[in-house]
């Protein structure tokens, strides 16, 4: 397995270089720059600001400089927040997104697996259709509708928690629910499908014949196989979840990374865009690796290729 991991690691580097190059080109070619402002500064001042960020050099030189900094791990200064570096901004905001993502994932797994298991065990009855339909709600209601609805009900009318902010433990509940709902729905369906497959297999019948109880069969034998599709799905999903959701962070006023990603693009904050893209990409690749390892562990038929 170590060889597998090592090989993945080496494969990642050219991938990141390509991503950085593509991002660089797209950013510079897009119209509008970081210093386009409503009250246009004089040409001299504009020139000064561009020089400060090295934007007055020819494009290829900027590219090489950028690459050099990236290799040293320096993501550069932010043009929107002059006294902050991108490294600092990400280091500050990522733990928040991480926490929110983990909580949302916990909600998703808890609700999703429960619903999926109940539905699989009582297939084609009311206990199958009801949880699945409920789960469907999570899939069909966009977060920017679910969020305000939850806030309106719980924060404004029932007054159980604040409408926005990220200070008190209670502030975590609504955002985690809003963010996790979609994934809970997906996980419920996948778990149901996966469990149904496994439950059909012969070795389950063998266990039943040997006199094993329902719960033992479920948790010791079936779940492992049933989790396969869930884990497959989680890889890319986790990466997106943990690096922040712009919608949820905006609606709930959470100081996470998702908002920086989007506002960086709108502000043409070049270093921030590059930093965000690379951070996200590295994260996705890392998560894919974790998922691949988990899949092999779950399904002994697979092997590291």
């Amino acid at each position: 397995m170590l060889r597998f991991v090592a090989r993945r690691f080496f494969e990642t580097i050219p991938v990141l270089v390509i991503i950085a190059t593509v991002t660089f080109l797209m950013m510079r070619l897009a119209p509008g720059g970081p210093f386009d402002l409503e009250k246009q500064p004089s040409p001299e001042i504009l020139a000064r600001m561009k020089a400060h960020y090295g934007l007055d050099k020819p494009l290829w030189e900027q590219y090489l400089l950028q690459m050099k900094h990236l290799l040293a791990g320096d993501l550069g200064p932010s043009s929107k927040y002059p006294s902050r570096s991108v490294n600092e901004i990400i280091a500050d905001a990522f733990p928040v997104s991480l926490e929110l993502g983990c909580e949302a994932m916990a909600v998703a797994l808890l609700l999703g697996l429960m619903a999926g298991m109940v539905a699989a065990l009582r297939q084609n009855t009311f206990w199958d259709h009801a949880p699945m339909s409920l789960a469907m709600l999570g899939l069909c209601v966009p977060t920017f509708v679910m969020g305000p609805l939850l806030i309106s009900a719980f924060a404004l009318h029932l007054d159980w928690c604040n409408a926005a902010g990220w200070f008190f433990p209670r502030d975590r509940v609504l955002p985690a629910l809003t963010l996790g709902a979609y994934y809970a729905a997906y996980i419920a369906r996948l778990a149901r499908g996966g469990l149904l497959e496994v439950l059909r297999q012969d070795f389950i019948r063998t266990a039943q014949a040997k006199g094993a109880g329902g719960a033992r069969i479920l948790f010791r034998h079936a779940l492992r196989g049933g989790m396969l599709p869930v884990v497959s799905f989680l890889g890319p999903a986790i990466a997106g979840l943990l690096t922040g959701s712009f919608v949820v962070e905006t609606i709930f006023g959470i100081p996470g990374l998702g908002r920086f990603f989007v506002t960086a693009a709108f502000n043409r904050d070049y270093c921030m865009i590059m930093g965000s893209v690379l951070f996200y990409a590295a994260f996705v690749i890392a998560m894919n690796l974790v998922v691949d390892i988990a899949l092999v562990w779950l399904n002994p038929k697979l092997r590291f290729e």
């Binding site: 991938v15 920017f144 497959s232 799905f233 693009a265 996705v284 690749i285 894919n288």
Partner: protein
């Protein structure tokens, strides 16, 4: 679930032979939820398609006709679903919006389907080094954050519907390609392909005549399930302000605007949200039903 048993009182040679597709259709027909989904989608599509006719003759308002003096009013006899703050009839906007949303959904899915299937099939079929390179490319594209790139794309090309299809289709084809590749690799190992190869059939013929038809099942299922995702993506883009241009609207735009005013004018959120949720529900149930009917191992993504 009891294993299927052989009916011994039926003479064996009298079994009605049913093709795979007939079997599948039969199974689908028995799935009430899936049928409901199909029905709803068909009706909604029809109604939205006929929007111009309906607006002109039945409803009487166009989607952009403003009535500033009237302002937002709840549903009543003249405006069956109410009006928005500019006095525009909500039902008319809903129908026209549906056209755009469904169109975006279908076209973007079609785009992602075409690209994804060809890419995945070729990659899976050819295998070896080429497959590795192609899949690496998919990995790279997967690792790009969608939001930043859509923003950059829209500022590149300006905002129009075509771009919306392209941007969304460009993201969805990745999953399709992966799934198709997985399927192709599984099918490739099967005996009838070996037989075809032994018979000396050319690779292209094997691919198109033998492998692709077997892919149809999973492709249909995933296409049906991609449309709701695409529609949600379109709603997200509208949330960012990058969606359809005024005075047109899509369900995403209507929902976003409605969510902002949901306490004062709840009808502006309720009806578009119900329409969208209904469509998404239906497509998902239909997709699930198709998956069960075609007995596709789709859950193993």
């Amino acid at each position: 679930m009891p294993a299927p048993t052989l009916q011994l009182d039926e003479p064996m040679d009298n079994q009605s032979s049913a093709s795979f597709w007939q079997d599948a259709w039969h199974r689908l027909w028995q799935n009430k939820l899936a049928l409901f989904g199909l029905f709803v989608v068909a009706i909604l599509s029809l109604v939205c398609f006929l929007a111009p006719l309906l607006c002109a003759h039945v409803i009487g308002y166009s989607y952009q006709e403003q009535n500033l003096a009237l302002g937002p009013v709840p549903p009543n006899r003249t405006h069956w679903l109410g009006t928005d703050p500019l006095g525009r009839d909500l039902l008319a906007r809903l129908l026209y919006g549906g056209r755009i949303s469904l169109m975006v959904g279908l076209c973007a899915t079609a785009v992602s389907l075409v690209i994804g299937v060809i890419y995945g099939a070729v990659s899976g079929f050819v295998g070896g080094k080429a497959d590795m390179v192609l899949m690496r490319l998919v990995d790279i594209l997967y690792a790009l954050p969608f939001t930043i790139f859509v923003i950059l794309l829209t500022v590149f090309f300006g905002q129009n519907i075509i771009l919306l299809f392209v941007a969304i289709g460009a993201v969805e084809w990745l999953t399709m390609a992966r799934i198709v590749r997985g399927q192709v690799m599984a099918i490739k190992q099967q005996e009838f392909i070996e037989a075809a190869r032994a018979l000396g059939l050319r690779r292209r013929r094997i691919l198109f005549r033998h492998i692709l038809p077997n892919l149809l099942g999973p492709i249909i299922v995933y296409a049906t399930l991609t449309v709701p995702e695409v529609m949600l993506l379109e709603a997200f883009l509208s949330f960012l302000g990058l969606g359809v241009q005024a005075p047109h609207s899509s369900w995403g735009v209507l929902i976003k605007e409605g969510a902002e005013m949901m306490e004062e004018y709840p009808w502006l959120l309720t009806y578009p949200a119900v329409a969208m949720a209904l469509t998404l529900f239906s497509l998902n149930f239909l997709g699930d039903g198709l998956r069960d009917a075609l007995d596709v191992r789709g859950s193993k993504d």
